[in-house]
């Protein structure tokens, strides 16, 4: 898809968003609430119309009503809301939904996959919030989808349930499904995604594999400016603010070698020396914060 835009009146919810997802990949749209993640995914799902841009999902244009049924038979969609008929049982709801698809997974297999074995014949309204959510995920995968959209799949989960959801995503990927998920948890994107697009203010501000996202390859070296040393006498280019020296580099081994060699030779102390790689969280905050590049 490319150049995707969506406006709500004067509010531009999504601006010129472009990315592509390869078959079998787990792709995460990472961004704060209100960044445009859900809008983007809903355009891909064909639920919302776009104002500009082109979209290709499994070879279909999701906005094309004529092919929407064919497309949806191959999609699995898990929404943020819990949305299941309260008066039917887990098994009934799954069997009903399985009937919509040409080659569904066996219902018992789905029940086991989402861990609802003991609740299979319970009515949906008697399930806990977490169990309903798992049923929701089950409904998303019962059609044996090639492409699965998970909109904030673990928001509100306790840590154990989160691990469970993560292992489910990994097993879907293992079966060859393509997964597009939205999340505002950095660790989730880092843990699951092959590639991440960071979205803020309706724009994609960075994309790539989680390890190289943004300026993550850069290492921050910091120390205090030694007494009697002026900034121009430092052996490597550095930013100096008062007595604080900071160096940003992707070649940390060479820089540290020169710096520590110079310090040992001249007997200069490097007080408070720290060497840090930016965490995904730093990158994320830097990309999505108020001073983010827009």
């Amino acid at each position: 898809m490319g150049g995707l835009s969506k406006r709500y009146g004067a509010l531009r919810a999504v601006r010129d968003v472009s990315f592509s997802v390869a078959e079998g990949e787990v792709f995460a749209l990472l961004g704060p609430n209100g960044a445009g993640k859900t809008t983007t995914v809903e355009i891909l799902e064909g639920f919302r119309s776009r104002d500009e841009g082109h979209v290709d999902v499994l070879g279909f244009d999701p906005a094309d009503r004529a092919t929407s049924r064919q497309l949806r038979e191959r999609l699995g969609i898990v929404l943020q809301e819990l949305a299941v008929e309260p008066f039917l049982t887990v098994r009934e709801v799954l069997t009903r939904t399985a009937g919509f698809y040409p080659d569904p997974r066996p219902v018992d297999e789905v029940i086991e996959l989402v861990g609802l074995d003991e609740k299979a014949d319970a009515r949906v309204k008697h399930l806990s919030g977490g169990q309903q959510r798992r049923l929701d995920v089950g409904l998303g995968i019962v059609g044996r989808p090639e492409l699965i959209f998970l909109d904030e799949p673990t928001t509100g989960f306790d840590p154990a349930a989160r691990r469970g959801a993560w292992s489910l995503v990994r097993s879907l990927r293992g079966e060859g499904s393509t997964v597009v998920l939205t999340t505002h948890y950095m660790d989730e994107a880092e843990e699951l995604a092959d590639r991440v697009a960071v979205i803020a203010g309706g724009r994609i501000v960075a994309q790539g594999d989680p390890a190289s996202l943004g300026s993550r390859r850069e290492v921050h070296i910091r120390f205090r400016l030694p007494d009697g040393v002026t900034p121009d006498r430092l052996p490597v280019p550095a930013a100096v603010d008062g007595d604080r020296v900071s160096i940003e580099t992707t070649d940390e081994v060479a820089v540290l070698h020169r710096l520590t060699g110079w310090a040992l030779e001249g007997g200069v102390p490097l007080a408070g020396l720290t060497v840090e790689r930016a965490s995904l969280e730093d990158v994320y905050l830097q990309l999505t914060g108020p001073q983010a590049p827009a």
Partner: protein
Amino acid sequence: MTRTATAVGRKSDLRLVLADVGYEQLAFWRNPFAAAFSVGFSLVFLVLLGVSGAGSGHIAFLGNIRTIVYYVPGFVAYGVMATCFNVLAITVVNRREAGLLKRLRLSPLPPWIFLTGLFLNALIVTLLQVVALLAVGRLAYHVNLPHHLPALFLAVVVGAVAFTAIGVAASTLVPNQDAAGPILSIVFFVLLFLSGLWFPLRSSSALARISAWFPVRHLMAATFAPYDPRPHARAYAWTDLLVLGAWGVAAALVAVRRFRWEPRRH
């Protein structure tokens, strides 16, 4: 990614409709509100009017029929409206606000199958209810079946179609789940009262002329017509059926224009 043929194993649309009606039936009868408000209320009202003596008089201006004979088609009309309008509209609002409609919209199930299932479910409940009302009327109060049973059947079906459309249209006007029950029920019961469900109205009265603007009165007239003992009476109330049809068409237009699959709170 490649496109592959997908139509191989899918159920036919007809089987999908039948399956959907089945699940709608399960959900309906397990929902205590839905079952009680439609089927429960109509039977309880009819029995209460019978045992309280309210149905034991005669209505002079309607060919001196027994009052209970007036109530049977009246509650048949109530049953049609409670099921197709009131319960259906509240169900649609609840499902919309709970995100169920959105989820359905995103599934491969074509919307027409879902809407057909919704209508057929309401029709089945309505017909079962009519049979129960006619049976109670016959067994408990010796109210004979109308001479023109097909006329009653036609009125029920036209009423079910029109009020399903009105119910779906009304659902689009209700903002949220909390408002759905009170708003729809107040409108519904006021119209029932004005239309003479509990107290028969002369058609020349001011109330009757007001309520003639609304569809409730016309459905009651159409279900009563097959029971009307007066010599000039016609079993098929074509004018009333026509007005109901017009309401149905107008409501369908509103429903199509305003229908939303996603919760209003967004």
